[in-house]
């Protein structure tokens, strides 16, 4: 039995957060520190023809960095190294960094930024998936394609012949801004003697570490990355912080002073990553009695100007594209293409919200075509335990989607309300509807990803007998500190309060991998548990501790051990669970060790005078293994659903020539406290044997379901089938008028 896991331990750093004492990067000041800023391109594609410094600025007071000042490779190391740190000739999107400035007076710095005039020779750009695929211009590689995947299962030709009905559809999703409330920022200290150190807001310290080592051509031990308290990430602080750290470090290297670079909201929104826009085409064969025979899915992502993480986002989106259904014949083609927009990147869900939106809208369309209710059609096609998924994964874990569906229908009063709204809606200006979405989300890195990462985490005893968790997994609001302390406390049989969690600092903590992919609790948490058990084992074997023991006895034993041996540290490296196999060539196998499973129901009202959609109620039922901390887990689900509601109805990036033009919080519309319904969260728990105390990943799951559930509800309310998000009132008006015309 666990004392802490399964209970809502208070947030470790909560007291610092509610009192305002928690230190975020912009709260730190170093002696002699100066401020840095970035001069960017202002065309989507072209070449730099010249750089001019306008008069009236005391340029001699400024540190000016260009690509020539880079000691190592001019790229931001990630998967490929195609994205330059500073452009020196070719411009591929309108927010490319070209030149860096530093000065102690941040007001004068801003004047100087505006006084650098870059001349360009423009080249024709590409802005859409279709134009990129058609190679209107070749802007990347030989064919504009960053990556493509092909998933094949069964015999498609035979399935089309056997089909009673074939249903087609095309679905579009827009870009989405992560909109963490703390903008990106870094502070760097860098010189040839001490190497490079950065402090900042981030999800992945070792990504930055890798990028800086390559940029400065330094050995790993001379680069140090420290995470400061981080005000939200949602994927938006996965890869771009490497760019900001690189820029701050280059300015620090050249100026010899600590350099702080904090993006303002407009720069953060326009220049850093957003969720990939997508276009998905479905062609589905079904039998008359509503059984899926074949699914042909063409999934395309707009990756922006550089490859960055697009192949991995595409991979997850492709694997999730067939959803939690059993279908004997499947063909999924996934492609990520280049456009002249800033690179799109990681955002909670990582490709899955896009492909699941398309699928779950399409499933409603297919159900309607065969004359079944959305619930009944899904019921007949859900994947069951021991069945095989689209990528050939036999689902060994306990899964009961029908139960989740039934529970969600019951909790939302789906059937009765559906009947009631059908009676009330005609003649009423307010039209109400119910919509559902069923989905799963793979936890941890895809395929062999975790094996390649080979993450390491540890637990150590300090000289005063306290226990400290060592990992590079960052606390970004989701609760890393708290759940790691809960897991370690239970593994060691000591108090939660006596566990510390080390600040992620690459000079101190092992590389437990990036804080992404719903892997922190399940994968790294398991390493923490194993490391804690190892430490306990060491103590028991050493004779300083005997079972059973009290917390005090444990502390004394730690002290004795440390004073005798100098240190007490237990470090564990990831081992894949037995029986997991993935083939990167055929894209077949066990895509994920386990999945979170869910059914969400949205209830909406559409006002046909203003075409506004309001979500009145939201029921979220999910199975996520053991729930480690109910308050934190509920908060994760609620927050993800809120972002999903924004994705469905409000959040619209307006593009002009590859640039986001509504880069202000006033004009990029995220939900306020007045816009959200009551969000009701319910958990089912099937413990996962390879997660800590049975936990699975949870963070991304809630992003996948809200958009299709809401748009399905809009269709029930209005009779209009919308295939594109966000469903702004303007979009809904056009759709309603097209139907009534």
């Amino acid at each position: 039995m666990t004392k802490y896991v399964g209970k809502s331990a208070p947030r470790k750093e909560g007291r610092d957060k509610v009192t305002g004492r928690a230190k975020y990067v912009d709260d730190l000041t170093f002696p002699g520190m100066v401020h840095g800023t970035t001069v960017r391109s202002n065309i989507a594609r072209g070449r730099i023809a010249g750089i001019h410094y306008e008069p009236l600025i005391p340029w001699n007071e400024f540190t000016i960095v260009t690509a020539k000042d880079i000691p190592g490779r001019n790229s931001i190391a990630l998967i490929l190294e195609d994205q330059p740190c500073l452009c020196d000739s070719q411009i591929n999107h309108p927010e490319e960094p070209i030149l860096l400035l530093a000065h102690s007076d941040r007001y004068l710095l801003e004047e100087a930024r505006r006084a650098v005039r870059v001349e360009f020779e423009p080249l024709p750009p590409v802005f859409t998936i279709d134009d990129s695929l058609a190679r209107k211009q070749v802007i990347w590689g030989e064919d504009n394609i960053f990556k493509s995947f092909l998933v094949k299962r069964g015999d498609m030709d035979a399935a089309w012949k056997a089909a009673d009905l074939v249903v087609e559809g095309e679905y579009l999703t827009g870009a989405q801004e992560q909109l963490y409330i703390e903008p990106n920022g870094m502070i760097a200290v860098a010189n040839p003697v001490d190497g490079v150190t950065v402090w900042g807001s981030m999800q992945c310290p070792f990504y930055i570490h890798k990028a800086l080592a390559a940029l400065f051509n330094l050995p790993n031990e001379r680069v140090r990355v420290v995470q400061t308290e981080t005000g939200g990430g949602f994927g938006g602080k996965e890869e771009y912080p490497s760019m900001i750290a690189a820029h701050a470090a280059l300015l620090a290297w050249k100026s010899g002073k600590p350099v702080k670079m904090i993006y303002d909201r407009a720069e953060d929104m326009a220049a850093t990553t957003k969720r990939h826009p997508s276009r998905t085409r479905h062609r589905t064969a079904v039998t008359r009695d509503g059984k899926l025979l074949a699914m042909e899915i063409d999934f395309a992502l707009d990756g922006g100007a550089y490859e960055t993480l697009s192949p991995v986002v595409l991979s997850r989106g492709t694997i999730h594209a067939a959803g939690p259904y059993f279908c004997p014949n499947v063909r999924i083609s996934g492609r990520a293409v280049a456009t002249n927009a800033p690179p799109h990147g990681a955002f909670r869900g990582f490709g899955a919200p896009q492909s699941i939106f398309a699928l779950e809208r399409h499933i409603d369309r297919v159900a309607k075509a065969v004359g079944l209710s959305p619930a009944e059609f899904r019921r007949r096609n859900f994947i069951q335990q021991d069945q095989t998924s689209a990528v050939g994964q036999v689902i060994h874990e306990q899964v009961d989607m029908i139960h989740l569906l039934n529970r969600a229908l019951q909790l939302s009063d789906y059937e009765a309300k559906t009947r009631r709204f059908a009676v009330e809606n005609p003649g009423n200006q307010l039209k109400r509807g119910m919509g559902l979405a069923a989905f799963m989300h793979g936890a941890g890195f895809t395929g062999s990803g975790e094996e390649y990462l080979a993450s390491v985490a540890g637990v150590e005893a300090t000289s005063d007998g306290a226990i400290r968790v060592l990992s590079a997994s960052t606390e970004i609001g989701q609760g890393t500190n708290t759940i790691f302390a809960q897991i370690a406390a239970d593994a060691l049989g000591i108090d939660y309060e006596s566990i510390e969690v080390a600040q992620p600092d690459t000079s101190i903590v092992p590389n437990s991998g990036p804080t992404v992919a719903s892997r922190t609790c399940m994968v790294v948490g398991k390493l923490v548990e194993s490391a804690a058990l190892g430490l306990k084992e060491t103590l028991l074997r050493s004779g300083f501790l005997t079972d059973p023991y009290s917390a005090d006895q444990f502390t004394v034993a730690c002290k004795h051990y440390v004073s005798r041996h100098g240190s007490l540290k237990s470090v564990v490296q990831y081992q894949p669970p037995p029986g997991i196999h993935w083939n990167d060539q055929t894209y077949q196998g066990d895509a994920y060790g386990t999945y979170g499973w869910a059914v969400y129901v949205a209830e909406v009202t559409v006002d046909t005078r203003t075409f506004e959609t309001r979500v009145d109620d939201f029921v979220a039922v999910q199975e996520v293994g053991k729930v480690v901390n109910p308050v934190l887990a509920t908060g994760q689900i609620e927050g993800g659903i809120a972002q999903g509601i924004g994705y469905a109805l409000y959040e619209n990036v307006f593009w002009r020539e590859g640039r986001m033009v509504n880069s202000q919080m006033t004009n990029y519309i995220m939900p306020t406290a007045a816009d959200l319904p009551r969000i009701r969260v319910f958990f089912e728990e099937h413990p996962y044997p390879y997660g800590p105390m049975g936990a699975k990943g949870i963070g991304e799951l809630p992003m996948d379901g809200p958009a299709p559930a809401i748009v399905n509800a809009i269709e029930q309310a209005t009779g209009v089938s919308i295939a594109k998000i966000p469903v702004t009132p303007e979009v809904l008006m056009e759709a309603l008028e097209a139907v009534h015309a």
Partner: protein
């Protein structure tokens, strides 16, 4: 008339302490608090009065300190997040945020706590709609607000004024 570029002296009370500041008159109160007084609990989220992360109380009213010029602090009574707890004893709202999961990443939390404190000062027993309205100027991207609403209700119960 002083020329552009001259700082002015501003006298005010901050967290019950008399303070005299030197600042450019148009400088954002937000920057003065953070830079000159090291009161970094007041955060900048948008710089356009939209997110509420920079909320402070000025003469008992909730304001966005990014939209207040330093000159307007003259003679004002200002309370920032650092002035909400009594020493180590948390305010009921802070305690409730801690217990109910009202804070996740924590960047909106200082402003949100001040908005909630101000709401309960004006409306000791708020309805659901009043809570939503009172907090609608403070954007939170982590929580979906549900735990925050619960924290506000919890704080009402804790102070014994909620019916």
């Amino acid at each position: 008339m002083p020329e552009a570029g001259e700082k002015v002296t501003v006298a005010c009370s901050i967290n019950e302490k008399r303070v005299t500041l030197r600042a450019f008159p148009m400088e954002r109160l937000l920057d003065v608090l953070r830079r000159d007084l090291q009161l970094t609990g007041t955060k900048e989220g948008c710089g356009e009065g939209e997110c509420g992360a920079c909320s402070i109380l000025m003469n008992g009213e909730l304001v966005n300190s990014c939209l207040v010029p330093a000159l307007h602090a003259e003679g004002a009574e200002i309370v920032t997040i650092e002035g909400i707890a009594r020493g180590e004893e948390l305010h009921a709202v802070q305690q409730a945020f801690l217990e109910c999961g009202g804070a996740q990443c924590g960047i909106c939390t200082p402003g949100m706590v001040l908005a909630a404190v101000n709401l309960l000062d004006r409306t000791p027993s708020p309805t659901d709609a009043q809570i939503r309205d009172g907090l609608s100027g403070n954007l939170c991207r982590c929580t979906g607000y549900m735990r925050i609403f619960e924290a506000v209700l919890h704080a009402c119960r804790a102070t014994g004024i909620h019916k």
